[in-house]
């Protein structure tokens, strides 16, 4: 890594330190080692260096999907849980018709290719299929609610 590239990283770290009142940062990776220490802060040996996570963008105002994550169009794994995100913008329906049974309920086991819900977009009903086998442990959206691209719809437990 060049020093110029590295500087950008250090600026990011410094900002993090400033925003989070970190006293020092020491980084060693791929032959690069960086150490930052804040002024004013007690420069003593503090253990348990804080690891700062990439912070959330400030003040995002989505009307729905308040926890809209970095979801991908493909399923994303978290522990042994798998999320099915919305592949398009539209209205989420759990059943093929208002009086019909929902495609899936909590506890159901779904297989790849099985339809789990419908998203209506521009008056077209799009069947959304599971891509992996798993047990439905959570349904994150109410019936007939709007969903945005990437919004998590179901949580499956991988089987």
């Amino acid at each position: 890594m060049g020093l110029k590239e590295l500087r950008r990283e250090i600026a990011g770290l410094a900002k993090i330190m400033n925003a989070h009142d970190i006293a020092e940062i020491e980084v060693t990776t791929d032959g690069v080692s960086v150490k930052l220490k804040r002024a004013g802060a007690p420069t003593s040996a503090q253990q348990g260096r804080e690891v700062v996570q990439p912070e959330a963008p400030p003040q995002e105002k989505t009307t729905f999907a308040e926890a809209a994550p970095q979801a991908r169009a493909e399923v994303t794994a978290r522990d042994n849980h798998i999320t099915i995100p919305a592949p398009m913008v539209g209205t989420f329906y759990r059943a093929p018709a208002p009086d019909a049974e929902p495609y899936v309920e909590i506890g159901d086991v779904v297989s790849p290719g099985q339809v789990v819900c419908i998203i209506e977009a521009m008056k077209i009903m799009n069947e959304i299929q599971a891509e992996v086998r798993g047990r439905v442990v959570e349904i994150l959206v109410e019936n007939a609610e709007p969903v945005e691209y990437g919004q998590p719809l179901f949580v499956l437990e991988a089987l």
Partner: protein, 455 residues
Amino acid sequence: MSELSIRKVLVANRGEVAVRIIRAAKELGIKTVAVYSEADRGSLATRLADEAYCIGPGPSTQSYLNVPNIISAALLSGADAIHPGYGFLAENPYFAEICESHNIRFIGPSARVMSVMGDKAEAKRAMAAAGLPVIPGTPGVIQDEKEALAFAEEYGFPVMVKAAAGGGGKGMRAALSRQELVTAIRFAQAEAEAAFGVAGVYLEKILDRPRHVEVQVLVDEDGHAIHLGERDCSVQRKHQKLVEESPSPAVDERLRRAIGEAAVRGALAVGYTNAGTMEFLVDASGAFYFMEMNTRVQVEHPVTELVTGIDIVKAQFMIAAGESIAVTQNDITLSGHAIECRINAEDPSRNFMPSPGRVSSLLLPGGPGVRVDTALFAGCDVPPHYDSLIAKVAVWGRDRTEAIERMARALEEIEIEGVSTNVAFQRRLIGSSRFRDAAIYCNDDVLALVAGDEP
């Protein structure tokens, strides 16, 4: 506040123009819906809008060009209008039609007019029919050298020989004299044949020190039309505008009236509505020629706003809402002088290669006469998927000299860390004697000009 027939607008764009549109809507009391790609999560537009919807992953074909997702977001959010900004879907008649078919007002001209003016050849024919001068050229492929010589004789040298199937400079030759013309035709035909398999060439007049002068027009749905004077966008690098100003240093009151009237006449001839820009070339003698029309808001619209006091994006909303234009041509005067510099995330030292990244620290210029349009903030990302335009610095001065001094001051203040920008290049450009003398023309190599001006 507002009693407009538009209550909520979805902004089908990103970056500075999305922010610009949201600002106009807010001032009109119109609710705003931002749409964003995954690469634009947390962008300024999403922060400023009343609502924000993710419409797809970073690549624009899957997000900002994803018509079903954009229309769905509009329907779900209850938006009764869509503003397309510039680029992306702004000049797509198909998209305008889909909006209409969903009872969503498309902020722009009708799909029909957009189709006509979107086809450069058709637009030229329409404007010629409306009595606008177009760049003289042979009516089509020349039949023989005699026809070419007759054309050159009539319009004078130099002329350009162009392959009918051309593109990318292939099959293009300039000719300064009769002898050169014959050679040029043969060369161009041979090159065209080799490159495109078709030898046909046509002739166009080459203009002396051409300037890009465009006229902003506004037409309401009752056909009331005005123009807001001209912008001079002659400072370009590879056909990319770099600096724009209004008024044009090359346009006097007489020419302003003539070119403005021509622009309005052309717009009315095709039944144009809403804001649009008629682009002309003006040569050293003051003759002007229609080039093309942009059927949307332009990147450089702020310079016109600064000298006329008219908010063009608000006017777009008002017109789309069926309101009449409240001012007459006589109310429009160009007061003072405005200049805009485009700030791009690109590296001039590496052939202006785009330079995406995270903006680690940011200082924008301010104070008297300075306007900045940007979606940047400290800590924001400049994604690699889109246009490199990240900020527009515009200044107003009582005259061109004050505007230049102010722009030099503003460019000195600006600090963008984390991505490479063309700020230093723009500083040199604005400080160059050629810019100060208003002696940069469309066909100039700006890079060489600026380099030559170095101390």
